[in-house]
């Protein structure tokens, strides 16, 4: 796609003025007449039997309208859905019922037990105090190891075990590779549990109108259409009587790519009471009961030759998935499996996964979703190989990287990488530092008792999700382009952006493609009653799949515009060109038409080419032929303080390749945020439960989020390797930074601590941990 007027330009986000002026409407900003407020009583126990619930006092409290328990809903409201329980994909999988309010037992701290509905939110909160729940506490399970130990308390007694499912993947012959290897390098890796922490917590407003039997549900969600389908199932309502609206959504990072108990519950309560009801999640509720990410612990073994060639990789891993499944819980660790080869050539690979239940929140998609785990272990083990063979990590990478001439490349895990040029990205990043000088400086500083570390990460990730055949619920995306009689353009997109900036990038595409002013383009999303069915925004797919649907719908409009212009200008459609927002016959720019002229003609309908439909609206449903595979090289230079164990990031270099770029400003924004989140996993973040299953990291005093002062100015550049999978040649960039950065910083810190004989450190790299290693 050639860069023309706006595509490829650094255009500021058109959505920002309303956001920074407080003019945007989030769920909590929406007010309806007669609204009621819901507060949820949550379990203080990680694991307990519910002996009795007494709601009498709460019910008679002035202002309380209803009190709902698990017994009230268990036969009337469907369970929280999981889309990935296909017995073919996961033979023998245990699928526990996941009620919207706990029935008989609670299995994690924060599990919803009772919902109180009141005239205002303060009364609802106060009335929670009046509900008496008698629990019989049970022992808790808080790790995969404990879950499978003999005599462990069983979460879901009907299964007789805490093993949730197993999954394996194999390509080539890993056993032979390990047996024939000059050396087998092994390392255990822990991917700690993280909380996504979107700036806006979740929130739901449900309004059932008995007159036409219609439920409208506003939710802070990434997937309004998928939510609509699931709600219709949960509530037993016809899907065309359910309307879901995702208004302004304040970030998600995957945590809102889900269907939550509260969404079903609010729909149910509104229908029962025939009044609008609202629930807004508190920050502590968000920590406890919005999905978590990661939580894998596994052993990696790689087969290597003495020259550093990697011939195979085996990953034996336990995933602690929490107490219940959420929408995509089981699928996440399988994505780790797919990306186990990273950007390397080796073909022998195997993964054996055991997933276990525990008294913790469900894990699910958090920015990167399974792929950060893969990139981390692959990029760390490459450094371990270098360490064990006494080679430079750069040299090991160069030896194993897939060459640019090898694409399309089929990995040991049977993925067909669309396009790539890993060496060029690596070279470009290396060109931004003086590697030899840094190594020299490192040696000199070590003499003075100062510890400099240099870390590399050459990552590839799987994006643009994805072909429907590889997805649990459709991988295509939709777009409608409509031109008004006056020439203004409205786009209805099935993706539901919540911070990614598609209102800007999609408008850029339309402005260039149809020859209209960018201010004359409106992007509509998130309302299932207005927008044709779509899949949603996640998996770095909004541009790569949603943008492709838009591009093709736009091409259809363009074709129609050419036909009408040709008719009006008495020429052939193929001779019509568009330049500077005017359509004319090639070589005759003086006799030109605007999109408004053409669209007026299309709508008036009296002067159209023979057989052409009136109107100006086209829809396209785009099915991608493959995933896309963005990649890049990150380099971190750190200094570790021997006195305090603190890590100073001195330089951070990122060369990323996300294919063609529609808006460099948006791409940089995504990369900045992504890199920060990835570094934050490496350095700060961890959800901690104690042995009893109590969450110890329940507030921002205890769960460390990064601040701007923790990071240097990122030095960024890119290479461009277009993807053949979509007409714009884009790859997607939403998760790249998160995926590439985590191993980079750990590699740098381990490199710094080499004089202390340190070969690996588990994340997060807290100063205390580092300091102890240096003593």
């Amino acid at each position: 796609m050639p860069i023309s007027k706006t595509v490829g330009a650094r255009i500021k986000r058109r959505e920002d003025p309303r956001l920074i002026q407080g003019l945007a409407q989030y769920v909590d900003d929406i007010k309806l007449v007669d609204i009621l407020h819901v507060a949820i009583l949550r379990s203080p126990y990680a694991h307990a039997r519910i002996l009795s619930i007494n709601t009498d006092t709460a019910r008679s409290h002035p202002g309380v309208v209803a009190v709902v328990t698990g017994d009230d809903i268990k036969d009337k409201l469907g369970t929280v859905p999981c889309a990935t329980t296909d017995p073919e994909g996961f033979p023998g999988m245990k699928v526990p019922p996941h009620y919207c309010l706990a029935v008989e037992k609670v299995r994690l701290v924060g599990e919803p037990v009772v919902a109180v509905v009141a005239e205002d939110k303060y009364i609802a909160q106060d009335a929670l105090d009046l509900v008496e729940v008698d629990y019989d506490p049970l022992d808790a399970v808080t790790s995969s190891e404990d879950a499978l130990a003999e005599g462990a308390p069983i979460l879901h007694e009907q299964f007789g075990t805490n093993q949730a499912f197993t999954w394996s993947l194999a390509g080539g012959n890993i056993d032979a590779a390990l047996a024939e290897a000059d050396k087998v390098v092994k390392q255990k890796f822990v991917h700690q549990r993280l909380a996504p922490n979107a700036i806006e917590p979740r929130g739901v407003l449900a309004n059932y109108e008995a007159g036409d039997g219609q439920l409208t549900l506003w939710s802070s969600t990434q997937i309004p259409h998928l939510l609509r389908t699931q709600l219709s199932v949960m509530l037993g309502m016809a899907e065309n009587r359910v309307r879901v609206i995702a208004p302004e959504v304040g970030g998600g990072f995957g945590s809102k790519l889900n269907v939550y108990a509260e969404e079903g519950l609010l729909g149910y309560i509104s229908r029962e009471l025939n009044r609008p009801v609202k629930w807004i999640e508190g920050r502590r509720e968000n920590m406890m009961h919005t999905i978590h990410g990661r939580d894998q612990t596994g052993d990696v073994e790689v087969a290597v030759k003495n020259d550093g060639t990697i011939t195979g990789l085996k990953y034996t891993v336990m995933a602690d998935v929490g107490a219940y499944y959420q929408l995509l819980t089981p699928a996440i660790p399988t994505l780790t499996g797919l990306m186990l080869c990273g950007c390397y050539r080796f073909q022998n690979v195997a993964m054996n996964l055991t997933a276990t239940f525990s008294n913790k929140m469900a894990t699910d998609a958090y920015r990167g979703a399974g792929r950060p785990e893969a990139t981390y272990l692959v990029e760390r083990i490459v450094d371990c190989v270098a360490h064990d063979l006494n080679m430079d990590p750069l040299e090991v990478r160069r030896k194993n990287l897939i060459g640019a001439d090898e694409f399309p490349f089929t990995t040991g895990t049977a993925l067909a990488y669309d396009s790539g040029d890993y060496t060029t990205a690596l070279d470009k990043a290396m060109g931004m530092i003086d590697y030899d000088a840094l190594r020299k400086e490192q040696a000199e500083l070590r003499e003075q008792g100062r510890y400099l570390g240099i870390g590399l990460s050459t990552y590839v990730e799987i994006c643009g999700m994805g072909p429907s055949a590889a997805m649990p619920a459709g991988g295509w995306e939709s777009s409608t382009v409509r031109v008004d009689p006056t020439g203004k353009v409205t786009v209805l997109t099935g993706v539901s952006p919540h911070g990614q900036g598609q209102e800007t990038s999609f408008a850029q595409m339309i402005a260039d493609g149809l020859g209209v002013d960018i201010d004359d383009v409106k992007i509509v999303h998130g309302d299932t009653e207005i927008v044709q069915y779509g899949i949603g925004t996640f998996g770095s797919r909004a541009m790569a799949v949603g943008g492709a649907a838009l591009h093709i719908a736009m091409e259809k409009i363009r074709e129609k515009a050419n036909k009408i212009a040709a008719h009006l200008l008495e020429a052939n459609p193929q001779d019509i060109v568009m330049d500077d927002n005017m359509y004319f016959v090639q070589g005759n720019p003086d006799n030109a038409l605007s999109m408004a002229d053409i669209s007026t003609t299309a709508h008036v309908g009296v002067n159209l080419p023979e057989g052409l439909e009136p109107g100006m609206a086209e829809t396209h449903f785009f099915e991608p032929s493959n995933f896309t595979y963005p990649f890049g090289t990150h380099i971190a230079v750190v200094e570790v303080s021997a006195d305090t164990g603190e890590i100073e990031i001195k330089r951070y270099i990122a060369v990323d390749d996300c294919g063609n770029i529609i808006n460099p400003l948006l791409v940089e924004g995504q990369l900045h945020g992504g890199i920060v989140q990835g570094l934050s996993q490496a350095l700060f973040e961890e959800v901690v439960y104690d042995e009893g299953g109590q969450m110890l990291s329940g507030s921002f005093m205890d769960y460390a989020l990064p601040r701007a002062h923790h990071f240097p100015r990122f030095e960024m550049d890119n290479t461009i390797t277009p993807s053949p999978v979509n007409p714009m040649g884009v790859k997607g960039v939403g998760e790249a930074g998160t995926i590439g950065s985590t191993p980079c910083i750990v590699n740098a810190v381990v490199d710094a601590l080499k004089p202390f004989g340190v070969g690996h450190i588990d994340m997060p790299l807290r100063p205390e941990k580092i300091w102890r290693l240096m003593q």
């Binding site: 949550r42 379990s43 203080p44 126990y45 990680a46 701290v109 929670l128 105090d129 502590r284 920590m287 406890m288 104690d690 009893g692 109590q694 969450m695 110890l696 990291s697 329940g698 507030s699 005093m701 205890d702």
Partner: protein, 168 residues
């Protein structure tokens, strides 16, 4: 969470033991106590307010005394719950004569759940320490008071007592 410590009071063990097992006096001494009533032998119902960091809440439950060997030992079992979670604790209290006074040695295990556990974990042991100091300080003041004299307790009193002790 494990708690343990020692505290010396300038009053003999018999008198300390008496206050520690007198619901009225103990109710006055325990910070935040709103109600402490004997319900059966050695069992009390308790209503208390306490704050850990940003989590302030009221709790209701029971206090049980067990293994009573006046004036040197008893065991205390506390179970309270409220909107902000639950607290379960069990502790051994030993009193020994030290000069003219009493050395109180306490050790126990406290389990917390719900919001109170999830917030300000780092504050728990310091909060427990503070509350214990307030309790014993108050007991000492109570024990030294003349019969019938009304003793005032609270945060300000506690600070004043602590300063006074440090001066001594």
């Amino acid at each position: 969470m494990k708690i343990q410590g020692k505290y010396t009071i300038n009053v003999n063990p018999e008198r300390v033991f008496e206050i520690l097992t007198d619901p009225e006096a103990l109710g006055r001494c325990m910070p935040g106590t709103q109600e402490l009533t004997l319900t059966e032998e050695n069992t009390y119902s308790l209503a208390i307010t306490a704050g850990v960091g940003a989590i302030k809440g009221s709790y209701k439950g029971t206090v049980k005394l067990d293994d009573l060997r006046p004036p040197e030992h008893y065991r205390m079992i506390v179970e309270v719950k409220g909107k902000t979670g639950f607290v379960k604790g069990e502790g051994e209290i030993d009193l020994a004569t030290e000069g003219d006074g009493t050395q109180i040695t306490y050790s126990g295990n406290v389990q917390m759940g719900g919001p109170v556990a999830s917030v300000g974990q780092r504050l728990h042991s310091s909060t427990a320490k503070l509350m214990t100091r307030q309790l014993f300080g108050a007991i000492e003041a109570e024990a030294k008071a003349a019969p019938g004299e009304e003793v005032k307790h609270g945060v300000v009193r506690d600070i004043m007592r602590t300063v006074k002790r440090k001066k001594q």
